[in-house]
Structures are given as structure tokens and as C-alpha cells.
Symmetry: none
Subunit: 239 residues, 2 copies
């Protein structure tokens, strides 16, 4: 069972009021209600409400913020929708893989980010994500708008919830740490890797690749504690 | 492999020009092009084309008819979308079951019927169908419009097609290192962790937990090389 209350739908720099309304409608049809707008380039207006149809309650409760990192701070899985499949230093999964991932791990909050209509999520925004999400589509016409994308993603999550085969024991699930804890670990890691002369400031790529390894592992609190223990041991041994 | 040329999308008594355009767009994003309008209650107009975005070719080729039975005459599977799950003398399947059904059978043409926005397909129209199709949704808000419904149904068909292809390419895609390389990394890791006094011989549990972190990450050759580079840097720094 996927708890829809855990899922944050985060629209980043959206520029058309109608798209915010259609997104709200798509969310509600699949049973999702938590809408966040980060740095919207437009207001929620009467066009939004017209497109939302009877999902105006989702718009009423939408939270507007200018701080993406704050919105995703309590999330242990951050998914960035992307039309690109390559040249991104992120593991790319599809909506069905996402629904399985959510089932087989015990994430705290989960954020699903969708970028601006014209350019999608920037590389910087994607770098804050645990994984990228790509929706299979016609390679000659990949013009999925925000609401269409959400319709498909959230349908997969709803479908997985209704699928009785995927009921597994919660105790077996992996208890994934929040993004804040992960970021603190990454910062500690960078300090130690510089101290032992493994990374230099002019090589950000290698640091991203190392982070990617740990993002793939869906680290638990206990695992982060173990890894930070190793970092401290390296620091103590060096002195 | 599902041949999209076999699939006829049949909108019955549609009353809003914009919905015809959005339907065309949803079809093209998933690679489907054959649109039929049976007894439409409106014209294809400039609103249709605006909503179709760059899927105007689908609208241009749309076939308009007043004879549903003629349109579905060459079909061996006729699917009627319905919001109702009971009180219909038809087997009801969901979009995933439909995609499996098409995949595992050799149908000639296949028709997918979507009814009028307000009342759906009539009982008489449903009686012409082989099966009914119900899309799982929020039971408190089942307001899926024509384009949203098509987006989900055709995504399932496309996904089934691509899934088959991606299984063939799996070996190319998954660049996971061999177990030998992983074991060599683990042995190197143990040596370094003992050197920095993080693990002692009498605590095998912590070593197992650390290995588990890296097993979860499905490490590639390159990632193992990076991690072993870090281990070597720790060794060099300690000397």
C-alpha cells in the first residue's frame, strides 16, 4: 500500500496557471492531494480553478515556496521528472519502477518534482534528486505536459496500491533516511576526501559520482551512522 | 510488440472540440494515430487544433462517421471504456490487463471506444463491445476526462511494447560489476577499515552491514574503481 499522504507533488517554476489546475485535477483523480509550487512564474487564478474542475480543494491547500531545498528537506526519496535519458549523472527509472521502489522501501516523505513547461528541471535542480524519472513515450513526439505526466505517474502508484500481490510485510522494508541526513553525510564525506587528497575543488564530477553510489543504496539512518563512523575513524587515524 | 496501426481510437458522441484535440495529443505522445469520431456533437475547430498542440496530423486524418457498427466492423477486439464496474453484462478489465490481452493474442484490428463526456457509453453502445475497460481511480473523484483516460490506456499499451524490447537489451543496460570484482573490493575495504581501527576481528556483524550498503547499490566497474581509489588514498595518507 502506498500512502498518498507521504507523496509531495512539487511543481518547479511552472509558468501557466492552467497547468497548475490540470495538475491538481490529475492528482485528485488518482487520490493525491499534497501540491507544492516552488518559484511559480504565475499565480493560481481563475483559469487554474477552471482547469481543476472539482479538484479546487487541492489548489486551496497548495503550498507556495521559494526554497526547493526546504520543501524536500524531510524527504528520503526525491524524484525528478526528465525527458532526457542520457547525459545526466542520475539513475533514470520509469513510473512502474518508481511504484515498485516505493513499495519495497519504507521511505519517509517522497517528493516528485516536475520542472518548467519549456525547459524542464535544470541540471542543478536534478542534482538535488535521488533519481530521475522518465516516462516512456513516442520518440518522435515526447510532448507530455505536466498534467499528462502526473496522470501516468500517479496512476502507476495508485495501481500498485490496489494490486494485492504487492502487499509485503512492513518490517522487511528498508527504513530510508531523510534528505537532510544524507546531505550532512555527503558534506562530511567531501571534507574527508579532501583531507586525504582524493578530491580537489576543481573536480566536481568525481564527487557527484561518489554521491550517486550512495543515492542508489537508499541508505538507512543506521547505515549513515556506520558510514560517518568510518569517516570519523579516518579523521582520527590521520591526526 | 503491439502494432499501433492496429488500434482504432473511437470517440463516440463527443461534445467538446477541445477534448478531441487533447485526445489527439494524448494519442500521439504514446505513438497512436488512428482517430475516429462517431456522431460527434461538435466540429473539429480551432480549439481542437490549439489543444492538439503538434498533434494536428492526427486531427487532419481523423475519420468522421455516423455508423459505429461500420467503424468497428473489421475489429476482433472491441473495448468500451466505462466508469461503472458493475451492472454491466460485460467482463470488465483494467488497462494493464488490456495490454497483456493484446500482447498475448493475435487480434486483427482493435477498437477502443470512449463515450460522451457527460454520460459515457450507453448500454447499447457497450453491448457492441467485447469487453469493458475500467481505469482504477480515486473512488471519491473519478473525474477522468477523455484525454486523461487515453493517456493512461495508451501508456499501458506503449509500455508493454517497450518492456519487451528493453528486456532484450537488459544485458547492455545493466553494467553491474561481477561478483569477483565486488569481493576483491570488500577484501580491500576490510583491510583499510582494520588499519584505521574501525573494525576488529571480533565484530563480523558491522562488516556485513557495510557490505550490504554496497550490495544495494549494484556497483558498476567504474564505481568500484572509484571506491578502491578512495581506499588507496586512505592508505597513502596514513603512511
Amino acid at each position: 500500500m502506498i500512502e498518498s499522504s507521504k507523496i509531495k507533488i512539487v511543481l518547479v517554476e511552472t509558468s501557466h496557471p492552467g497547468n497548475i489546475g490540470s495538475a491538481a485535477r490529475a492528482m485528485k483523480t488518482m487520490g493525491f492531494y499534497n501540491l507544492f509550487l516552488v518559484n511559480p512564474k504565475c499565480e493560481i487564478n481563475e483559469i487554474s480553478y477552471a482547469m481543476a474542475s472539482n479538484a479546487s480543494d487541492v489548489l486551496d491547500k497548495a503550498i507556495v515556496s521559494n526554497n526547493l531545498e526546504e520543501i524536500i528537506g524531510d524527504c528520503s526519496l526525491i524524484i525528478g521528472a526528465t525527458a532526457r535519458q542520457r547525459d545526466i549523472p542520475l539513475e533514470i527509472i520509469n513510473p512502474r519502477e518508481l511504484s515498485k521502489e516505493i513499495h519495497f522501501n519504507d521511505f519517509q516523505k517522497i517528493a516528485i518534482l516536475l520542472g518548467n513547461e519549456a525547459r524542464g528541471l535544470t541540471n542543478k535542480q536534478l542534482s538535488l534528486c535521488t533519481k530521475g524519472l522518465h516516462i516512456p513515450s513516442n520518440k518522435n513526439y515526447t510532448s507530455l505536459n505536466i498534467a499528462s505526466s502526473l496522470q501516468i505517474i500517479l496512476y502507476e502508484l495508485l495501481f500498485e496500491s490496489k494490486n494485492e500481490l504487492s502487499n509485503i510485510n512492513k518490517i522487511d522494508k528498508n527504513d530510508v533516511a531523510t534528505n537532510d541526513k544524507l546531505i550532512n553525510f555527503f558534506n562530511h564525506l567531501d571534507i574527508v576526501l579532501k583531507e586525504i587528497n582524493f578530491i580537489k575543488d576543481d573536480r566536481p564530477m568525481i564527487s557527484r559520482k561518489i554521491r550517486q553510489i550512495y543515492k542508489k543504496a537508499n541508505l538507512s539512518d543506521e547505515e549513515i551512522n556506520i558510514l560517518r563512523g568510518i569517516l570519523s575513524a579516518i579523521e582520527n587515524h590521520s591526526q
